[in-house]
Symmetry: D2
Subunit: 364 residues, 4 copies
């Protein structure tokens, strides 16, 4: 009933606070005999790691993940896999200010209301630091997809909007996403964003973003109607990421303005395969994958840690002001890209195993 686990067949549970000794997770339900070592996960963690450019928080964490169980002689054994990352850069600073005051836009007030106690150091449990374990678990999920399915599934994310500035989709080039510090698939936009974000950073301000994650090679048949639909679980997965305020599948919000003629993707044959002439559905029909690309977008709000003083109250019920000093991301959406990819991998792996329970082995 507490909510620190995700998934049913591929199920993981995370634990840990921003400034505790370590963070970690346990992944249960990983099929046996999959080659796995820490290095397989480290690559994904390194991509998410803070402090890689001037555009993300300057907290320095090596984020070295350790596998403590569930792997024997380089292979998964079917038993739970425990992952652990030690927290290293826990600055011994004075937290007096945020210990007492509730930062607007942060979870300080609601944690206090819910639990009557909170670990205020760096946001405690509500810190985005927890997402490191999602990325690690996502690395295992990718392994599961590769192990169970005969063909590879590709999962890639991109930043498609920074503040009010959207990319030009005509410029989309996946290769570009690793060439700039924003995961931006449009090299022209990426160029513009650099100056824009520098301005915000220097002003101590912050801005929101939109991330798009695309999974290609997903077999048809994943999703468990009518409540654990694939898109419903993706919506939950993405909305559970820190600072996310909206989730779209395929045409998303724009589908509201479309007519039935414009919206429904027609079907044709291409050789022996059924193909769709468009993908407004985002690869999900009736809550079940159709074999098309699964396309999810989510909006991330600007971080609430800014240098402008803000009105708030403290835990003694007094009105006050607060300025959130310290290490911040001017656009936390950037670091949400690998997290969104990881959650996509996790939802797909979970539903792949669930579909296997119901219908037996499956192919893409």
């Amino acid at each position: 009933m507490a909510g620190n686990s995700f998934g049913e067949a591929f199920r993981f549970t995370t634990w840990g606070e921003s400034h505790g000794p370590a963070i970690g997770c346990v992944v249960d339900g990983v099929p046996p005999r999959i080659p796995l070592e820490a290095a397989d996960l480290q690559g994904w963690l390194d991509a998410r790691k803070p402090g890689q450019s001037r555009f993300t928080t300057q907290r320095r964490e090596p984020d070295q993940v350790k596998i403590l169980s569930g792997v024997f002689e380089g292979m998964t054994t079917g038993t739970p896999i425990s992952l652990l990352i030690e927290n290293q850069d826990q600055r011994s600073k004075d937290y007096g200010d945020i210990a007492d005051k509730f930062r607007p836009g942060h979870a300080d007030y609601t944690y206090w209301q819910k639990y009557g106690i909170r670990d205020y150091r760096g946001g405690g449990r509500s810190s985005a630091r927890e997402t490191a374990m999602r990325v690690a678990a996502g690395g295992i999920a990718r392994k599961v997809l590769g192990h169970v399915l005969p063909l590879p599934v590709s999962i890639r994310g991109a930043l498609v909007q920074m503040g009010p500035h959207k990319i030009d989709r005509a410029n989309w080039d996946w290769a570009e996403t690793t060439e700039n510090p924003f995961w931006c698939p449009d090299s022209v936009a990426a160029k513009d964003w650099e100056g824009y974000l520098d301005g915000l950073r220097k002003a101590g301000s912050s801005i929101g973003a939109v991330i798009e994650v695309v999974a290609a090679g997903v077999p048809a048949g994943l999703g468990e109607p009518v409540y654990d639909k694939l898109d419903a679980d993706l919506a939950k997965a993405m909305m559970s990421i820190n600072a996310v305020k909206a989730v779209e599948i395929g045409a998303g919000l724009e589908a509201a303005a479309l007519s039935g003629e414009e919206n429904a993707d027609e079907m044709r044959k291409e050789g022996n395969r059924v193909v769709f002439t468009s993908n407004k559905a985002g690869g999900v029909l009736g809550g079940i994958s159709s074999g098309q690309d699964v396309v999810v977008r989510f909006a991330v709000k600007p971080t609430s840690s800014i240098l402008t003083p803000r009105k708030t109250v403290d835990r003694h019920g007094q009105e006050t002001e607060i300025v959130t000093k310290g290490r911040h991301d001017p656009c936390v959406g950037i670091r949400a890209v690998p997290v969104g990819e990881a959650m996509m991998a996790i939802v797909l792996a979970d539903h792949l195993l669930r579909q296997r329970a119901l219908c037996g082995n499956i192919e893409n």
Copy 2:
């Protein structure tokens, strides 16, 4: 692992196909000693019932709900509550066409891919008829909220966009929503929509919509980070409704374009109560309710049942065309309003009981 249940503490399971003998649900986890009779649920069902204006499907169903268990002498007993609605208007028509062909935009193809069999009559399990049970279960959830909390929680929904036409929020009047056939809170917009939708209906076309659901009186403290956050469960709940393609909390997608200064809601005191000077967060911070109004919006795609012939394939793998005749909603979003309200009530009741498990009795 199959997905026909929702919720953990307030948990309901629905069953039934569009043209089977009946549809129903079982609600487990309802606290004992709550006054309940079928009439309490019938009102909500009547609001959702099809065939009430020329703008919704002409299928005629009395939708009389029966309570088969869990209530004794007018009070809940704490045991599972079984609800049942008999299907009556099951036209004995020829389904030959859709039996063989996959309607674009519908779940026909994916059900076939997933299960290798499908009850094609009226969409079978994928029909929006299932949502009647959500509305009935939502009626019980409202009773739970009223029973557990000292103050009433108000949950109301409205259609805020039909196709490209948005309401003017300056005109918002909740009382208006029951005065037009659209649940539209803006009387001016409602007037315009009438002609607009008539045109679409006569053309055999359809259009999407956006629904907003607002819950007032929700206590602070609901939501179970970091995966069963209140907003994450709301996103799942809404995305699981037929035809929904996007879910927003508070500022939603627009948060992406906001700066940190614009987005974070400041806090003040009003007498002894903490109040917020705005509600960009939609009543949820860090996945936990803040005591503000919980605000959710979701986008519904246009129904794919239209009179224009569409290209598709049949189950023998042949290319073909299809025209979906029969009874349709030109704007299915209209009937999604009470369903969205019901899912809001269910998520809140579930999290209220979960919070009670963790922290004991709770007040709003």
Copy 3:
């Protein structure tokens, strides 16, 4: 969190009270394309049905099960299967006595303590009438086993002890179990029990019993350590049956008195197959099936409905006496035999699908 569901992959939820309009269940997670009709389940229900001999309660219920969903043209569709049995023999009698008084040994007092309200008619939710739905769901579970596995699994139950009288295992003959009203595999014991039970019945007394259920043909590999072990789930399944007070696997309680040499089953080869030279383990090692017969026994207490006056209290807190009149089973253990078989089938089907999720298709 309320507890009216069982199983994870093969999951069923029951509802209904002894004297409500109907009882029923929803089975979710049944693989598609399995031939199924009500008649397949009726046979199992008829075997359990009360009133078949003078040794079971004289309540007369036709117990005609209806399938309301999840089956199309004689085949399962992968959607939830709703089963319903109408209650018919609800005698309109005066319940005044048990409405107020708590019958010793019954659930009256604890339901009152837990819920603060109870449907006292015939025991309400705590009545063994609920087990009819277990038997029906068990019929579906048997179908699942037959569908997923290439070879048949045989599940059979027997009464091996009535009161102090145990069978002679040297006389064990499965064919005998359907030749006497006790499911007794020992024709000699069955003869003796007849007079014994007649005596108890006429005296208005009752007696306990021990049931043994054996599943043959179960593949190795079922069970999910370390908490959802096959034997742990069997223990829960059997202990959840009304009046059960003990569960044993294999040697059971006697294992406590054995030495390591006596207890561990040795392994040999028989052609290409691994065979065990004994089955003290009852077919489960480390919580996982070994391929041997899965052997479970459970003890059923005597029904507490007897004609001897018993001391008790009433709901007003007054000391009083009670005699439980009405229709009773002198040995409720008899009717628990098909229920035990059903729960075995359900646990095996659930774990078969779970193992398929983890490791793919499986053979016996």
Copy 4:
């Protein structure tokens, strides 16, 4: 769907292998603001620790538990609590023999059949070493009981039978259980067992045992019929402990031989309280606690690690023999006593929180 978690409201997940770097668990659902430090758990672990007398395995583990999350300034925060114990005494020995051969009575063969791979070092995941985490989690569960309930709950275990030798219940003295190395409440029996077990130990043999766990002070109303009954969950909890083959509640197996007159516990008043004149039910009626002592017994088989050569097969399918050398417990049942206590505490804490969800705050 994999099975390494237990409980719903108080939910814990264990991980780790006997000879991996560490074992651990995550406990989710612990209410906030409960004082907790590692020392609170260490006491229970020390009681369970191996190597304390010549009658338990000579493996030497300090078993120092660390709390890695969920506690802030000495108080629980409502977030998941991660516990970790490093494995220290991992002898670098040659496992060649058991790497290839399946030890009779152990889980070697079934893990191989299920997963197709196994960590054979010390039994890997199937080792009783996992139970250390149950004991640690049980320590937290006791804290939860103490925090939520106004009066203390006492949970105590005892060895009541070693091999064929039962205690004399007339001699029962709880204080005695900590005075001998067997948790035996009968000082006379304890004396006799010493010589008996020494003989077995020297012979390289082993013997089974029966453990009884009694919880006093449990409020009426715990348990969620009809599947998550308190006794059903206790049965599952105890049967999930390594080597357990039978579970009894109250009169247990003996209830089968009792008449209705003998078995049903009568009720009287004692001042304002309802009291029972006996406790055949073991404190559970209809799956719900009655307020009486909750009494559970379970039988543990003898360890299969003995010095007598046993026939078996190896993983290449060849017949062979095996002698299990190394460190063993002649009576593993002894060390199961604190584990049974821990599982009792966990089941009670889980159901206490579940009852609080359904019915609000509760008192004993």
